[in-house]
Symmetry: D3
Subunit: 68 residues, 6 copies
């Protein structure tokens, strides 16, 4: 499926922490680590595991900008 | 200010497109380009311009995961 | 691409309204109309037009519940 | 209360899964099932249970579009 | 309608700025001003105008925390 | 760090409830209580505790408007 989200960053899963309903997936997108919070069901359905190639997907309207 | 958002990715502004109330800011975070949609007021207040060092900030719950 | 968003609702585009940077896409998912606000660039890249079959995609954490 | 969210989809609760702080509520909106992740407190305050008539509420800016 | 969003802050509209599809509504919630970006259609449907009593509604998962 | 989020509301932590991965932080912003759902890791990193001065941070696009 092609989707409208502006940000689709290719990377590799480097860690997965499970809560009861929510899991935190850390993705190395080449120099930066992005953390995603998704449902545990999604982790199982996408068969996510450490080392798997994935995309970190973010809508442009969900990205803020900060400066020092 | 330090904030709770899990993802704070350092990069440089490479483009800014203005709408009437919303602006799209493209940020090179070292190999990947992230697009942010923020208010035009924010662009002015943060004095954003091409070349400026910034952070792309995203809550973990706003990051989805995709696989091919 | 398969993605983690829990909600992927199949439907057909019934209307598209363009702003300067943001466009509103109305999708008939079989009895209900869902409105999506995405970047104008995405509408062009996905070649969206009235009648096209699409998916309305929403993270579970972005869905609230209301009662009368 | 009337609210600004563009998407207010009428349906019925068909399942509720509880985590420690977050609960997943599945809503049948007539042919499609929408999953919502809300706080456990909200489930209790709204007295949600299977069979109850509810609305799945989503801001237009939280809806992405996908194509095959 | 009663909704699951944890934050429903009572206040008064103090300003409305229109873009082509998006409008910015400033709400005084008693000492603090909250800015909301909603569709222009919503402003019209809710008949929002300066002085009107409204609620600023935010999901808990959309609120970040910052410290100096 | 200065950030683009339109809403940065100064307040004090009045309660913190921990789930397995997610924590709920209640912030008194002077007359109103705002609830934030952030990762447990963020609570630890920001050393949040009851009485601490913080900011509740919300993007304008995540604020809806409601009327009675």
């Amino acid at each position: 499926m092609k989707i409208s989200a502006r940000n689709q960053l290719k990377g590799k899963v480097v860690a997965i922490d499970h809560g009861v309903t929510t899991s935190h997936v850390k993705i190395d997108i080449g120099g930066s680590i992005i953390t995603s919070a998704i449902t545990k069901t999604s982790v199982e359905e996408l068969k996510l595991e450490v080392g798997k190639q994935v995309y970190a997907i973010v809508k442009a309207s969900d990205v803020m900008v900060g400066i020092d």
